[in-house]
Symmetry: C2
Subunit: 229 residues, 2 copies
Amino acid sequence: MLEKSHKHVTCATCSARKNSLFGTYGESEVIDLNHEKMCNYYKKNQPLFIEGSFPRGVFCLNQGKVKVFTRGDEGKEQIIHIAKAGDVIGFRSMFSGEPYKVSASTLEESNICFIGKDDFLLMMDNNPTLRNGIIKELSKELGDRAQFITNMAQKSVRERLAFSLLILADIYGEEEINLTREDMANFVGTATETLIRLLKDFKEDQIIEIHTRKLLIVNRDKLLRIAGR
Amino acid sequence: MLEKSHKHVTCATCSARKNSLFGTYGESEVIDLNHEKMCNYYKKNQPLFIEGSFPRGVFCLNQGKVKVFTRGDEGKEQIIHIAKAGDVIGFRSMFSGEPYKVSASTLEESNICFIGKDDFLLMMDNNPTLRNGIIKELSKELGDRAQFITNMAQKSVRERLAFSLLILADIYGEEEINLTREDMANFVGTATETLIRLLKDFKEDQIIEIHTRKLLIVNRDKLLRIAGR
DNA sequence: CGAGCGATTGAAAAGACTCAACCACCGTGG
DNA sequence: CCACGGTGGTTGAGTCTTTTCAATCGCTCG
């Protein structure tokens, strides 16, 4: 369980850093990074940033999960991405000069570090490896979103749910998937009621186990088959 | 009308270049660019690159339009983006190291220049302005796609069509919108028949004019209202 | 002039959503 | 310790949008 206080994380010993954009940093760079970042504890459902505002820096997740979403006309959330430990989020609109096109808030209690805009941009100028890592990351996400769009446009809700569960399984790793039905519906892109009915189907087909709110995937192959390629 | 031959375009006089990633280039840079690029004439419906293959360079549109799309499970295209003169496409997967996640082919006869991968990457290393332009472009597209996803997930086909027509109006500028019904349906993300019925509605509501295959927007405000924000 | 592709229309079926009601769990305060 | 309120989860029924399938039309290119 997480410390319910302002836990200070040190970049040098941060286990999430290895898989992050800063994973290739050398010793002196890590020390610099550590000076520039601020560390914060977030409760569940706290916002990191909100659509329409301007970025003041980037967020690096040490522990916890964060949903990245937009709101449609009626205010309904569409979850675009779920970030986990090691992910760095919020840099997109720093580069485009636009306000945030998405919002982000915690799904669990989390430890999240913050790096100010100027510091981060300076690092980018001086560090080709970081820069290339970011370009690569942007490019990869762009490709993912092309597929996401196609899924939304062409797959049935049932197929999308299967697809989403596979993604969630990757994100949650060993842990059970733990989201409100509403958040899950907003990730799949459907109504909460429809999601619940489909989860029940999947459970009856022995594809998943439902432990009240938490989900466990029992039959990955079936999911793959339902999701389509 | 376009020359039906291998027309050679010179970067220095290329009118499309001004609005492109290379718009800020100085005289000597333009000369270099001109040496590195190859120019080609494409007929309608010719592929530039195909999902799954690996990139060998980038394409810079001098004249014409290109659809960028993925195929869903059943082979149905989903058009992600329509590129016009001045747009540079195909650089995403050069950075991510992945194969193309999308395909691209011409919608009209087009003049398109090609810049080899090595040349382009070298330019990027040596030219911070180009580099920042690309980062900005990647970031902007990423934001656009977040909205695209939300539209797909939450808007009705009718709303999406209105939205799409506004985008197409921007792309086609003074020209009339000129797409097959199927391509348009694949852009909106619906069945061709549904698209046709909705176009008829819009025509009856005096929102658009239909000249056989070509479309003209008559009442932009109504479209805005239907599309939602 | 004919083949064929793209456009159009109609009718039926399916998938998903909305609305309304109800349940179950959890933390709070009396 | 228990009743209460609230949030999140579940179920059912009816409706509506959208898709699918089938058939027809019409234009254009060889």
